[in-house]
Symmetry: C2
Subunit: 273 residues, 2 copies
């Protein structure tokens, strides 16, 4: 399998360089020659979406997606309505910053049966689809690792995300393939093939062996055991030629100088993606 | 769904009361009226399998299984042969203590492609089947949570374990259903039905929300979000009427007085299993 030879498809999440404000991330990405950025909503907050949009347009860096919408299930109808409002706000923000896509972390409620969470997720996405269509913003259902089924996301395999997207059957709803969440799945290759043009985005990082923390111990590509290049090839074989997004939550890497981290990301991107 | 009204099917793993030597565990289980014990190999070591078998037979407590065999994949043929030797030793030990069953944690090697690990697991189990048949000891393939795919077990869903067991097609090979590893799986109910008489053992504990550690933060039943009773009902609906094994790895619970822990296990067994 051939590796990548340039950085044209490289995108980095603002959460990967979490300590940087948006302006610093823009400067840092420009200095490092990183052409794509995925913006987390917390990085919009200080200056607001409108001003963030202006900064991003001026930067020439392409906005790949906004993270994140979702979190649909809730015990009360009032809280489910609040979640829909929040997703509509996210769609407004995406439009304001020129993000063509919102990544959905679907949500889960401790103690709620997973089947019920999954139903509420399907209903929640369906409810915001018209708003997304009107805004011209796409929605990507991101299956999260089964270790998050209890309290973060009840969609835990690409098969489930594909089922949901197929059921909703609209060109604005697709899936995100994140190697961290999905690499273990024996059905991954076939479900990537099935997803085909519904793959709206592709996230990479690595699974450390051992992983020391359930949330914040992701590795830079090459620091773990995920066959990243093989999975990237499966994704590209569907015709996907969009950005490859580096999303690393890591207490260890967050403690480093982000400039140094970006250089290591570039090296490992060429070597392992 | 009806709860259980007595402790006839209650079994506790020696790892749940890890600090106790086997003799202490036997005494503690007797005092608490716990009729079944699953013995971890480290609890056999100090006095050896033969003496352990004598102690267990004298106790009147039923030996439900021996934990654990497996760990088949390895980079070198020599290491794979060592793993087979170790599994044969485990079979000898099971026979010596009167355990009718060995639970297999199949193994995984960081960096080895999962497909290769899975092939080596199938080959490894097949290689020890004749020895198990001769000893009259059954082998249960235990799928482990996908968060262990990197370094502990490449069999991560009940579907995979069922596929393996079907392929091997011998009455000595079946599966273990552990709610901690499998509760998130949207296919769990159908795969339990498919497993049917191949369910050789059933493990319970709970998934804490949030879980603070990947290995040692399991909860007592009721401390987390697993629908334990529902899954137990699915298992019983297949005709399973064997022991229900409480297997809790928890730094928090290991720090408690095991006598107190056993009483809490009994209460939560009636309330939540």
């Amino acid at each position: 399998m051939d590796g990548l030879t340039d950085f044209k498809r490289l995108c980095v999440h603002t959460m990967t360089v979490k300590r940087w404000a948006l302006a610093e991330a823009i400067e840092g990405f420009r200095a490092a020659g990183i052409p794509g950025i995925t913006v987390w909503r917390q990085h919009l907050e200080p200056q607001g979406a409108k001003e963030s949009g202006r900064m991003l347009r001026d930067s020439g860096i392409e906005v790949v997606s906004l993270c994140r919408g979702g979190f649909f299930p809730a015990q009360s109808a009032a809280d489910r309505a609040k979640a829909l409002d929040d997703n509509r706000r996210a769609i407004d923000e995406a439009a304001a910053i020129g993000a063509p896509l919102i990544v959905l972390v679907s949500g889960a409620v401790p103690g709620m049966p997973l089947a019920e969470s999954r139903k509420q997720i399907a209903d929640g996405i369906a409810a915001v689809v018209p708003y997304a269509e009107a805004a011209g913003v796409r929605l990507a259902i991101e299956p999260l690792h089964p270790m998050y089924a209890g309290d973060r996301c009840a969609v835990n395999t690409l098969r489930q995300a594909n089922d949901l997207a197929e059921e909703l059957d609209t060109p604005v709803v697709g899936v995100t393939v994140d190697v961290y969440h999905l690499w273990w799945d024996p059905d991954l290759e076939s479900q990537i093939r099935r997803a085909g043009p519904r793959i709206f985005s592709f996230h990479v990082c690595d699974w450390r062996c051992p992983t020391r923390d359930l949330l914040n111990d992701r590795g830079v590509m090459g620091e773990g055991c995920i066959p990243i290049r093989k999975i990237r090839q499966w994704v590209d074989d569907t015709g996907y030629n969009g950005f490859i997004e580096v999303e690393i939550f890591s207490d260890e890497h967050w403690a480093e100088d982000p400039h140094v981290l970006l250089e290591r990301i570039k090296t490992s991107y060429i070597e392992h993606v």
